[in-house]
Amino acid sequence: MYRILKKKQIVPNIHLLVIESEVVPRNTRPGEFVVVRVDETGERIPLNVVDWNEKSVSVVFMEVGTSTRKLAALKAGDELATLAGPLGRPTVIPENKSILTVAGCYGIGAIYPVIREFQARHNRVTTIIEGRTEMLLYWPNKLHKYSERLIEITRDGTRGVKGHINDFLPGYLEKNPTDLIYCQGCTYLTYLVSQLTRPLAVKTIVGLNPIMIDATGMCGVCRVIVNNETKFACVDGPEFDGHLVNWENLLSRRHTYLEHERRSLSFLECEKYG
């Protein structure tokens, strides 16, 4: 069992968990993830590691289905049934490049350790965080610390630039020569950014989040098509060149269990929480 040291709702529906572990942090590098299972009947789900020290790892997640709802209901002192990791390949960190990082949703947490490493290796980092409205943006100061420039975008204009990433990104790239774009967030955001940067031929690395079970390469549920080849996101990824990803396949595979997820959630609400 793995003790929760801290639990906090950062913004509506997005939570931070700090989990006690001396073993997992030892080898953790930016871009890697852990698998957690809340309780004995729980699923195994992958979550990006957003920070770690000698005694703990931290994850940020969005509350959407049964597993994340159960996770969100935990409090400090509670225990997780499973914590395993680090998993996946770490982010490839270039040196002395001009990098634009784009993040939304739980991806805002996920980019934190990566931009920290980008900066440590003398890259010039600009970070864009985006959300529907002001109260969905978080960690601006933490992220700004490792970015030369932080740009906030909200669709309703309540903070920073008003609009959507697709209104902003092409113009930005025109004015600011960029060697690499690094994007974390929901599949829609990573897809959208990849579509926007493809015609501009700016290399774009995206963190993907397909369904996983063991996350050690054993089951193959996380397979994604990259450059017309089948890859396992858990051991070959989860970061890939966004211009080479078959997005249609990824999106449909992510929706495999939509109906089950609905059923599972109503079961949870009725049976477990009355």
């Binding site: 009947t41 729980g42 395993a84 079970i213 063991d214 054993m218 089951c219 549920v221 929706h255 949870l268």
Partner: protein, 466 residues
Amino acid sequence: MASKIVPKKTAMREQPAKERVKNFQEVPYGYSEAEAVQEAKRCIMCKNPTCIAGCPVEIDIPGFIKAIAEGDFRGSIRQLKEKNVLPAVCGRVCPQEGQCEKVCVLAKKFEPVAIGRLERFAADWEAEQGEAPVPKRPPTTGKKAAIIGSGPGGLTAAGDLIRLGHDVTIFEALHKPGGVLVYGIPEFRLPKAIVYREVDYMVRSGVRLVLDFIVGKTATIDQLLKDFDALYIGTGAGLPWFMNIPGENLNGVYSANEYLTRSNLMKAYLFPRYDTPIIKGKNVAVVGGGNVAMDCARTALRLGANEVHIVYRRSKTEMPARIEEIHHAEQEGIIFDWLTLPIRYMGDEFNWVKEMECIRMELGEPDASGRRRPVPIKDSNFISPTDVVVCAIGQSPNPLISQTTSDLKVSKWGNIEIDKATMKTSKRACWAGGDVVRGGATVILAMGDARIAARSMDEYFKTGVW
């Protein structure tokens, strides 16, 4: 003497096929004490028994059977456990017909002694008596062994080493111990309670078990070697193969590993009580002809499929599955499409598999495996409806360890290379065995490898000579 021999094995009662396809409970019930004694008495106690050599872990087969024949069940299980740490498992899943029972002297004229059923009986009898007492630990040698993977090989190596007084730690990547016995083999063939009982016995014997620890990631082999004197790598064959045909990434197409892991390890058959879902197809196609394919097909039936097909490119004779498994599958109504090869899967507008195209095959000249090579028959293509496909065509070793251990020699298929006499790898203080060396093989061969390795590790601990 020979005239008194009962020609046939004592039958084992089992759940009727009609009933069992609706549940995940074990199919055969096992022998009663009277049945076991009756069967044990069929053994003629050869002076020079051939059966022992047929067993990869060298169980004293006539010895444990004699004890059963005399009603000394405790003596029987004691003898078994001297050589086999997992008798309840092997009694159920070993391919005895190709090993001990194949070389049983009786088999020349009659049915062989039902060695597997008797092994199972002795182990189950012990379990019914309550918690099995653990043997006294010998004085510790102070040598530390790490076992990577808690499957049948890892458990065997751990059992052998702890008995010799070494300090043993097992590292398991998943959240339950047992490896393939837990994620792969279904409940109706091997109840998980049996595996956990055996693991518990191991832990009570002094073995340390660390779950959720992925060697290669959580710690590398080199990091472990700082804390341990020797390592045994028994990580199995956990990388599923696909056929690389169009449509394999459609929704509803599973690898056997995924399908079985969902159902067995994650208990998706109990969804929504358990959170992990599984698609319950109406018309399921399982591609492949081994035991894993049989397990997937029979799982699909129990999940409620109307029709389950085994699609296999060779004929029944070439099927690698155990005869008993094929029989069980046939009894349960699995449809066998022999000499049939899938060539593509077609999806609907939402990317869900809805049809598969296959081609008929015929058998040509023997290939490298000695089996006749299947050759496509021109223009024999046909399309059939399907809503779940399970690809059970084999797997290769998981690369997490080999990728992170530079001086560990592996073949181009990713199998770890070893010296067969000792199971030593190319890396000092590292041994390996089972599927990570062999590719997809059997539980008992993995156990045999582990036994050889444990012996060699013990010698290394004593002499320090690599």
